[in-house]
């Protein structure tokens, strides 16, 4: 793949990549942008090379995931060295919440997702948000399909429990539709 082709592919998956980057950094938009920029540079500079063994989207998602892990590690070291103040990122997330999660249901849903373990979050995001198969999700996460399935089932179970606890089932659109269907 030459530079122009790579750019085209990146552009095609840009929005989805941004969503995946958000999921990889606990939905912090500035971190997501940084991660995406670094991932683009990795691809365009040839530090990450697409060998065609999987779909471009799957491969690029794994690049984003690795970049996010690096970013998280650096952030952790930075916190240890007191280079970065935690309050700044917290403020950014607060603003983001207000701008994006307008509905209370979405806000509660996001809260429920954040409470899941990271692997479970990732597999649910890849399957439900990005419409990947379990095998593709396993490829992105760098784990076996069996492990991915385990995380997927456990994640769903836990998410359902959390959603019930937060009362999301009663308030969401589908629940409303169901109620409308039941009530004559």
């Amino acid at each position: 793949m030459d530079g122009a082709e790579l750019r085209n592919e990146l552009e095609k998956h840009h929005r989805e990549s941004y969503g995946w980057a958000l999921a990889c950094c606990r939905r912090n938009p500035s971190d997501a942008e940084n991660i995406l920029q670094t991932a683009y540079l990795k691809v365009l500079d040839g530090k990450a090379r697409f060998d065609g063994r999987s779909a471009f989207k799957t491969w690029f998602f794994s690049v984003i995931r690795v970049t996010a892990i690096d970013h998280r590690r650096r952030e952790m070291l930075g916190r240890l060295r007191l280079f970065k103040h935690e309050a700044s990122s917290a403020g950014a997330t607060g603003e983001f919440d207000e701008a994006v999660f307008r509905s209370e249901v979405q806000s509660s849903f996001r809260q429920a997702i954040v409470e899941l373990p990271r692997r479970q979050q990732e597999v649910l995001q890849l399957v439900f948000y990005h419409d990947l198969t379990l095998a593709e999700a396993a490829g992105v996460m760098g784990i076996g399909v069996g492990s991915a399935r385990t995380h997927y089932e456990r994640g769903k179970k836990r998410l359902r429990r959390l959603m019930a606890k937060l009362g999301i089932y009663d308030e969401s659109e589908l629940a409303r539709q169901r109620n409308q269907a039941v009530v004559p």
Binding site: E11, H14, Q37, F128, Y129, K156, L159
Partner: protein, 172 residues
């Protein structure tokens, strides 16, 4: 059935989230431009950083060498010998440093005393006027006429001849 409904519910919520994310996603061109400008900034910043690090390392090495040389400067502790001096009753103190004034050989082997390490100024102040070379500035006042006769011991034969000669000269 219930589980399927719950899966649909989860999928629907994820879809809503995706729509919300897509509405706030930055443009591809803007993201790429930001990435490239970051790269350009890095390209400029890294050589400067390397230069700064190299300069700091140079300064550190230079200061280390300077300190090392300052410590190992020729500051030999003086070796002072303590032993009986010329007169025998007072101990003469001689230094290992070369001196132009000849000193008489000591009858006993000199006891070598290594003095403590001192500051260079103090050592220089102690060494510059050597005690063996020192002369009192008012010592000439103690010299009296005929001082040589009192200092020397008369020999038996010689003194007698001198007395006879003196007597014959007084008779004449």
């Amino acid at each position: 059935m219930n589980q399927n409904w719950q899966d649909k519910e989860i999928r629907q919520l994820y879809r809503e989230q995706r729509q919300a994310d897509e509405s706030i996603a930055p443009h591809f061109a803007a993201t790429l431009e930001a990435a490239l400008s970051k790269k350009r900034a890095d390209r400029f910043g890294r050589p400067m950083l390397r230069l700064a690090v190299a300069f700091a390392a140079l300064v550190a090495v230079a200061s280390f060498v300077f300190l090392l040389l300052g410590r190992s400067s020729p500051e030999q502790p003086p070796i002072v010998s303590v032993g009986p001096g010329e007169s025998g009753d007072k101990p003469a103190i001689t230094s290992s440093e070369p001196s132009s004034v000849p000193t008489s050989p000591a009858p006993k082997p000199a006891r070598r005393v290594r003095t403590r390490r001192q500051s260079p100024e103090r050592a220089a102040a102690l060494l510059s006027p050597l005690i063996s070379q020192w002369q009192s500035p008012t010592g000439f006042l103690l010299k009296t006429p005929g001082d040589e006769l009192l200092r020397t011991v008369p020999r038996i034969g010689e003194s007698a001849v001198e007395i006879k000669m003196n007597l014959s000269s007084t008779k004449n």
